[in-house]
């Protein structure tokens, strides 16, 4: 395990500008009528923003495999809760 990778300021600036652009994008998309795709579009943009923050601001991209597992665990269990609960409700007669 080498010591922590120190990212250049430019990387953080690019990620920050991407996040701001995605914020503008998500507001813009909300005012379009995409029918049933408004929610998936908004959530997809939010997930991209979250991944950028986790990978670069929180350094997970440059972290050990063990840190990856710990970082993914919470989101994995959240997915189980959301997906299993909704498959139940949606499939009720």
């Amino acid at each position: 395990m080498s010591s922590h990778t120190i990212l250049p300021t430019k990387t953080y600036l690019v990620i920050f500008l991407l996040l701001m652009a995605l914020l503008g994008f998500t507001v813009g998309v909300a005012f379009l009528d995409l029918g049933r795709f408004n929610l998936p579009a908004a959530m997809a943009i939010a997930v991209v923003k979250a991944v950028l923050i986790v990978m670069f601001f929180m350094h997970v991209k440059y972290a050990s495999r063990l840190t990856w597992v710990f970082a993914a665990a919470g989101f994995f269990w959240l997915a189980i809760m959301l997906i299993f609960t909704m498959t139940d409700y949606v499939s009720r007669g």
């Binding site: 914020l23 923003k49 601001f57």
Partner: protein, 214 residues
């Protein structure tokens, strides 16, 4: 202080292992936070599935003019936090203190905007139970939306407040030179928490503010 700062605690094999344990500890806490907010998001998903029209009408009563700029403020705070952690890694104490203060200012700015927004919500009679008035036949369903809105944003605001307090303590420690050398991990751990609070808002913003505009 600088002597003890470079020696790892006796239960670890190396300083690197100790730092990784610190990071893993914070991620473990954040996993519990994901599920803490996740349970409420689950409630939201369930209620929205059942009352889609009421939720869109209720969301339309919130102002993107508050939520949008506040999202931008939190993203700015994450940027300055990332730069603070970088300064800590490089051992630049003055830059570390400056970026921490900038992050604190953005955090406080977020809370001030949120305070004005809550006041507007109160004036417009959108506070469930205490001060709620809804024209139309779906008042009860709209009230559920606003319960979720106040619980989710309120708990998030509590997290921001705790974050500001922690950042203030870290800034004082940094200003006293107590985060030099390998102690910079304190700034990194704090950064993980702050970025997580930002991520929570990244999801709350579209779910609460953006569903009633098309």
């Amino acid at each position: 202080m600088s002597d003890t700062a470079t020696v790892h605690a006796h239960q670890f094999e190396s300083l690197e292992q100790q730092k990784e344990a610190d990071v893993l500890g914070m991620w473990t806490f954040l996993a519990t936070e994901v599920l803490f907010f996740g349970g409420l998001i689950m409630c939201y998903t369930f209620a929205r599935l059942h009352f889609p029209q009421a939720f869109e009408a209720a969301s339309h009563r919130l102002y993107v003019g508050y939520g949008g700029p506040n999202t931008a403020i939190l993203l700015c705070s994450s940027f300055t936090m990332a730069l603070a952690v970088r300064a800590a890694q490089l051992g630049r104490q003055k830059a570390l203190v400056r970026f921490l203060i900038a992050t604190i200012v953005f955090g406080l700015g977020f809370l001030v905007v949120k305070g004005f927004e809550y006041h507007t919500d109160y004036v417009e009679e959108l506070v469930p139970r205490f001060h709620f008035h809804w024209e139309g036949d779906q008042a009860g369903h709209a009230e559920i939306f606003f319960w979720l809105y106040f619980v989710l944003t309120g708990l998030h605001a509590v997290h921001v407040t705790i974050g500001v307090i922690i950042l203030s303590v870290v800034a004082v420690l940094a200003a006293r030179g107590k985060l030099s050398g390998e102690k910079h991990i304190t700034a990194e751990i704090t950064g993980l928490y702050w970025h997580f609070v930002d991520i929570v808002w990244v999801f709350l913003f579209p779910l609460l503010y953006l569903i009633g505009h098309r």
